[in-house]
């Protein structure tokens, strides 16, 4: 008896690994983004809950402390983006921090929520900028106002663009003049409308200074995509917050939660596909008996570009062992030609199942 063949050969394993790795790499940015979005939404929910549970007095006090700091900044004409900043963010900025995500730490540093319905974005805003924080959400640029709104404030919120682990500000350039984004801080909801888009050198911090009397928020990210040598500034001016804005924000938040479930389903589907592939490989390695219905004078078996012709043996039967898979079998009988599709129904089958076409 011939030696029992293993279910999978080395090449089959390599093929399997190639496909698994390929799908993994391909899906990583999207799945990671979905995961980050989902976890961020938890941070935001936590933040919202925390803020709602605070009593009015506490909220007011917190808000006032932000405002006081803003006022001090406006008077000092402070330069944006400093205060030990250089140490916290490396020059290449590719977020090479090994520290893992820490929900508690993130939540404690969340001071606001940024929502941009147009690009389905809902992110926590952290109180300062570090490489570590930039991996997970939007960061308030040190030396700029807290996003409290109010005259003579200019909050600058920076976010990553083009990092593989999360989408963050990747789609920020899609914001055009007139588009709105929203900030929720404490129990206050603020709406800003984009009126200026600019590209500056990373050294031009002066363009981020407070403009006396104006209520501005600038969203900042790197540009051009993948090159990141300059900074894109999208500046919005405060506009009234409408009910429709709340609705749009809600959808953005929901989408950020849903993304994760969508990908869970997708992963399940992918696993299923993998199973099919594996089965296909095992079948392909096993030989099954092709039994052509009796009475055939000739059978042509074809798969892809390859084909073989079988004639009846001494007993008038056409029986051959072939590697598992799908074949077209053209059977010539006295009465004419019949086409069959031969395939393996179950892994354990001994022979091909023929289906007349």
């Amino acid at each position: 008896m011939a030696k029992q063949k293993k279910a999978l050969g080395l090449i089959d394993i390599i093929i399997m690994l190639l496909i698994i790795a390929g799908i993994g790499v391909l899906a990583y940015p999207f799945v990671s983004d979905a995961y980050v979005s989902y976890k961020n939404q938890q941070v935001i929910d936590g933040y919202q809950q925390r803020e709602t549970h605070k009593n009015q007095a506490a909220l007011k006090k917190e808000y006032q402390s932000y405002q006081a700091k803003n006022q001090a900044m406006a008077t000092a004409n402070m330069a944006p983006g400093v205060s030990g900043f250089n140490a916290a963010v490396n020059a290449q900025g590719t977020a090479q921090t090994s520290e893992k995500r820490n929900q508690k730490k993130l939540a404690s540093q969340t001071i606001a929520q940024l929502t941009i319905p147009k690009i389905g974005l809902s992110l926590p805003v952290f109180n300062h900028t570090t490489d570590w924080l930039l991996q997970f959400g939007a960061c308030l640029l040190d030396g700029t106002s807290y996003p409290t709104g109010g005259k003579s404030t200019h909050a600058v919120i920076s976010g990553h663009r083009g990092v593989p682990n999360a989408e963050l500000f990747t789609r920020l350039p899609e914001l055009k003049q007139g588009d709105k984004f929203f900030i929720r801080i404490g129990n206050k909801k603020l709406a800003y409308q984009v009126f200026s888009r600019r590209v500056i050198e990373p050294t031009e911090v002066s363009s981020l200074k407070i403009k006396p009397g104006q209520d501005l928020v600038t969203l900042m990210t790197c540009t051009p995509y993948m090159i990141n040598s300059q900074r894109l500034l999208i500046t919005g001016r405060r506009v009234p917050y409408h009910a429709a804005d709340a609705e749009a924000s809600k959808w953005a938040e929901l989408w950020n939660k849903l993304k994760f479930y969508v990908w869970l389903v997708a992963i399940a589907a992918l696993l299923l596909l993998m199973g099919r592939l594996l089965r296909g490989l095992i079948i392909g390695r096993t030989r099954y008996l092709l039994v052509v219905p009796s009475g055939a004078s000739r059978a042509v078996v074809r798969r892809g570009r390859h084909q073989r012709t079988f004639t009846p043996d001494d007993e008038g039967r056409i029986e051959h062992k072939l590697p598992g898979g799908r074949y077209w079998v053209t059977v010539e009988t006295a009465t004419g030609t019949v086409r069959y599709r031969a395939s393996i129904k179950h892994l354990k089958d001994r022979q091909f199942t023929l289906k007349r076409k």
Binding site: I14, I15, L18, I19, G22, I23, G24, L26, A27, Y28, P29, M78, A79, P80, G81, V82, F85, N86, V89, N90, A91, Q92, G93, T94, L134, G143, S158, H160, R161, G162, V163, P164, F169, I200, P202, T203, E204, V205, S206, L208, M220, T221, C222, Y225, M226, I227, N228, R231, L277, G280, L281, G284, V301, R303, G304, R305, H306, R308, L322, G325
Partner: protein, 371 residues
């Protein structure tokens, strides 16, 4: 206490007195001690011009020549030594007092002792040094004095008193006496005289400010400045030649500073590791018509030429500074502060992932076609 004039000149480097033997008009050297008995040639209208050249120095090494080398009859060709302008000398004619008792005003060497003994008398002639540190005036060679109730012409004796208010920052110049005439007549005229009183500077002044980081307030080294007085640039001189850069504030060693309108001559001051910029120099003075030194309470400007690496040059480059106030801090804002918020994108992932899948897929299919 009486003090020999010569001794004084040697002992006190700062107070240069000129005591000269009385020389009579006919050229005969006559000790003032015999003055009373002598019968000098008297010319009531004769005049002799005296030019004061006021020198200043900060330490002895700067001024190796003592009085002795000065020639009273020739104008000094020394143009490099510092001179002081706007110094006032009040010159008193003390002939009467002197001739009342000539012996009393002489030391044992026959020199006239000026200090304290010969009192101010009458209305002084004020001599004020000009931009070149020089002052010239003509004096009567002979003065009518009353001796034993008899009016006689006698060689004049003058006492020069420096107004200390006009030489602030320097040692006080001792009074000095000069008797005329000096030298003989040339074509019926007395020769011009040149006297070189010297002042040692006692006080130095400094210009100093600090360069700091606008946020952390830390001292910043490496900021480059010009220091200006009005539209004149400070040039630091060492042994008379320009020093291009000064990168250390040195409070111990006063430097020679010249104020020039030529920007290319300006010295570049670089903030040191403690952030300080500046220099110490003697009081403002004029040499050859060129301004030197630092004026007490003077107003100056720090002009920022370049910021330290990594910092922005401020829009307003000039900062007023004064001699008096050394606490001025000039901040720099750090630059290059916007975070790097970009990655390499997901293209690599997509391309690599797709390539792997395609490769796997092709191999998978290939493996199942031949049979």
């Amino acid at each position: 206490m009486k003090k020999s004039f010569l001794k004084k000149a040697l002992v006190m480097a700062g107070a240069a007195l000129l005591a000269l033997p009385l020389v009579l008009g006919n050229g005969n050297l006559v000790s003032a001690a015999d003055g009373d008995g002598a019968t000098p040639t008297t010319d009531p209208v004769a005049k002799q011009s005296i030019t004061l050249v006021k020198y200043a120095y900060t330490n002895k090494a700067d001024f190796p020549t003592e009085n002795t080398s000065d020639d009273i009859f020739t104008k000094s060709t020394d143009t490099t030594t510092k001179r002081l302008s706007n110094v006032t000398f009040n010159v008193y004619n003390v002939s009467q007092q002197y001739w009342d008792n000539p012996d009393h005003y002489q030391d044992k060497d026959g020199q006239i002792v000026a200090n304290g003994e010969l009192k101010e008398a009458g209305t002084p002639v004020a001599m004020k040094t000009d931009a070149n540190g020089e002052a010239t005036a003509s004096f009567d060679v002979f003065t009518k004095v009353t001796i034993k109730d008899k009016e006689v012409q006698r060689p004049s004796v003058y006492v020069f008193k420096e107004d200390p208010l006009t030489t602030q920052g320097y040692d006080k110049q001792n009074d000095f006496a000069l008797s005329l005439p000096q030298g003989g007549l040339t074509d019926g005229k007395y020769q011009d005289l040149y006297v070189y009183p010297k002042n040692k500077s006692t006080s130095t002044f400094d210009l100093k400010f600090k360069k700091i980081d606008s946020i952390t307030k830390d001292a910043l080294a490496g900021a480059k400045f010009n220091i200006m007085k009005g539209n004149l640039y400070a040039t630091i001189l060492k042994d008379g030649t320009r020093v291009a850069t000064v990168d250390q504030y040195d409070e111990k060693n006063p430097v020679d500073v010249k104020w020039t309108s030529d920007k290319s001559e300006a010295t570049e001051f670089i903030s040191d590791k403690d952030g300080y910029v500046g220099f110490v120099a003697v009081i403002e003075n004029t040499q050859n018509g060129v301004l030197h030194g630092i004026a007490e309470n003077g107003k100056y400007t720090a002009w920022e030429v370049d910021a330290p690496a990594g910092y922005e040059v401020p829009a307003k480059k000039d900062t007023p500074i004064t001699e008096k106030d050394n606490s001025v801090e000039i901040p720099n804002t750090p630059k290059g502060l916007l975070p790097h918020t970009g990655g390499a994108g997901i293209v690599l992932f997509v391309v690599l992932g797709a390539a792997l899948v395609v490769l796997g897929g092709v191999a998978y299919n290939k493996r199942r076609t031949s049979f």
